[in-house]
Symmetry: C2
Subunit: 511 residues, 2 copies
Amino acid sequence: MKKIQRALISVSNKECLLPLLHILKKYKIEIISSGGTYKKIKNLKFKCTEISDYTGTNEILDGRVKTLHPKIYAGILYKRDNKSHYQDLIQNKFKNIDLVVVNFYPFEKILRDKINNKEIIENIDVGGPAMARAAAKNYNDVTVITSSSQYEEFINEIKKFNGKTSLNFRRKMSQIAFSETSHYDSIISNYFNKITSNLFPKRKIISGSLIERLRYGENPHQESAIYSKDGTINFKQLHGKKLSYNNYNDIFSAISISKSLKKNTGVVIVKHTNPCGVSTIKDTVECYKSALACDPISAFGGIVSCNFKINRKLALELNKFFFEVIIGDKFDNNAIKILKKRKNLRLIDASDYTSSEIFKFNSMNGSFLVQSDDKKVFTKKNFEIVSKKKPSISQLNDLLFAFNICRFVKSNAIVIASNKTTLGIGSGQPSRIDSCQIAIDKMKKFTKLKKELVAASDAFFPFVDGIERLVQSGVKAIIQPMGSIRDKEIIKFANDTNTVLLFSKTRHFKH
Amino acid sequence: MKKIQRALISVSNKECLLPLLHILKKYKIEIISSGGTYKKIKNLKFKCTEISDYTGTNEILDGRVKTLHPKIYAGILYKRDNKSHYQDLIQNKFKNIDLVVVNFYPFEKILRDKINNKEIIENIDVGGPAMARAAAKNYNDVTVITSSSQYEEFINEIKKFNGKTSLNFRRKMSQIAFSETSHYDSIISNYFNKITSNLFPKRKIISGSLIERLRYGENPHQESAIYSKDGTINFKQLHGKKLSYNNYNDIFSAISISKSLKKNTGVVIVKHTNPCGVSTIKDTVECYKSALACDPISAFGGIVSCNFKINRKLALELNKFFFEVIIGDKFDNNAIKILKKRKNLRLIDASDYTSSEIFKFNSMNGSFLVQSDDKKVFTKKNFEIVSKKKPSISQLNDLLFAFNICRFVKSNAIVIASNKTTLGIGSGQPSRIDSCQIAIDKMKKFTKLKKELVAASDAFFPFVDGIERLVQSGVKAIIQPMGSIRDKEIIKFANDTNTVLLFSKTRHFKH
């Protein structure tokens, strides 16, 4: 381990420099810097050499090429244990640079601030990443610091080793540096993909910042973490234990369903990522009770999501049942008070949640599938009535409601509904007839009153048997995509039984 | 649009340069180059200036800092429409560089070749990415080419525009350059993560190379593509139409299940990513027939995967049924001949497939969950017999078989098995009792003979009701993780009914 003699500092974020400068002074480490960083250091009353004085080259092109000089790169890149490298350095009167403190122009922030393309491009840092990469490559001899959040760790390290750093520390800092440069270029690359409308470029780079490590994954023997673009999540936990992998998975599912329903009138209960009850009845307590009534056995230990503010009255009702998570678009104070009494219950405010997903990806043994999100929402425009019998307005509304729920149910999906509430959901089956039977069984088990039933299927019925069973169970109107070679037979069956049949033409597979 | 006057070429891959050099000569474009590229160009008898002659600086440190010089970077980065930039260039006697052709040290290849850490680090390219990034940033004036696969497109462009390139072309090349640098650093970063055992770094970068665009995603209105690390897939399609998104999804699921079974003795049939029949009977035809018999209705249009070579006898049998995809560890010639008669059938050779997944990831509205793969395989060691009645050897084998299949069935999962064959699989249900009922219904529907039944559950039974129903249907032995507050009740029930009960202690949730 050699003492650090010389540092190059070039930072876009000029906060927190003071303790760093103090420790460099303490160990008599020479500082080279440029531009704004140089001014900042001088203002803080520390010694510092301007980079153009150091290299002997004028600063040109508004500072675009300040650091891109052999004297800088030789100083960083030369191998300290290589005699010929050392000779090269001496002959050229270059000096070793042992510490590089650099962070990049804030491209990510600039993108968020939506400045024009010219300004965005101007904020692509060329010198910073090049220096960071050179220092990171030569971690055997050089320490690279790429974020002010590392200053404290660096200060502790250099104190511990009396002006030096350990190889382990340098390797760790290199690992971070390369993940920073890769992340930085992934943002730039994705910006270019966006402006050139390239959804599936030759290289797809998905870059995430750690939100948190999770206790474990889907199962206790699996390790896990959650990432997002900027390391933040777009909902807020108000109460309860840390979220688990399965909580996150279910919460995202529940919020995406409830947010897809008409504003301020939707409750969904989710278990194992599948909805097991959905309602959009106007009265919020009735709405919740109806969603729960669809399958109260499955709902036990599940997640409930309301797309409206949860008030005291609803909180009292929710409190009667065991949920792991309750999600609302805010909670009023009385509701919070009531629900917080349960220590293990997690409360989530999803009022800031917006659907921002452009594509979904799914890993499979080293490969991954990418697809645009299934965002197609069904309205009265995009279907065809193929039966002689036409739907009533309430049937039509229920058919659209049921079909739009299919989008969130794992295939094969059958949703039986009435009065904007699901009464039976069949999911996750390898054959459609089984999903029909499950939906029917649930409906029969939990629905006491006789209702006007409709049903939706996420994909076409391959045979008549599925709709036959639904009709026998009281379903009067069915919506499904077309596409079976037996479509004609199915239409005939609908007409023979005076059933309303709609073809949606769009499928909603979800696996 | 200005004519390209000067090009800098520095390539690690020196193939295919000839047509590029010809076109540069045709348009009187000056070439600057260094090291191996310079030699190659001279050998091909083209004019070229060595970079150290161009910059006036000696090559030092074994070429580590060849191009990192203000004369190079000013030439690339100066804004052609900025007068002060132009003055800077003139005053320093620098010249414009309008084309940068660069590709990087083959870090990926080096990693594959498993050379030692020192050599790996030596192959981190510093100069190449810096030049590519500078040129890509200044795409308004400069063209950057980062792969020999772009030469042809570049040649066509420069011919079309008579020695110039269009802004659209330059922007597209920049987009590719940034995705290359990001990809390159993601590989380096992941290498560092590996050597520092950092599974969940602060930044997680997932980088993929396009295998192919797919016709559509899970549904026709979704766009889709598949990626892998190196743009190749680890199985081979021998026959049939292009694979769809859903094919890929099912194929990966089917292969991972069949490869998890004892070598040369496993058949699985998959539908919608869930297994709907699995057998490990030794005779291959019997094995297939047994897997099919578990749920022949669901199997229709499904995917079958055999973890052995498919011969003529089995091919004749497979040919009697409608599958979308048949997967084998090779096919013998007669088998291929028989199966190829079906035009729409896809045949996949999975003999080269190995499980290489370290972690799985799952996108959710801009965030993503990462977890290590659930690779835990159950053997006779890791369970506890908690009932008075002990399992027979064949029961024990069937219990382990069934529990290991649970790992691949979407939760809640119940697998009823006998003689190393599934007889009923309940999947994708929000309540365990429903999965029990589905598994029982399937078993009763398709199993004609009375068999010695066992059952496995992916997670604990919360109540006695689930195992009660299984036992009433003839199940004599059950395996499940422990963890319910009613475990004691459940053990009591097993003892009262003389049922074998095993606790696996490990859960196999899959959502």
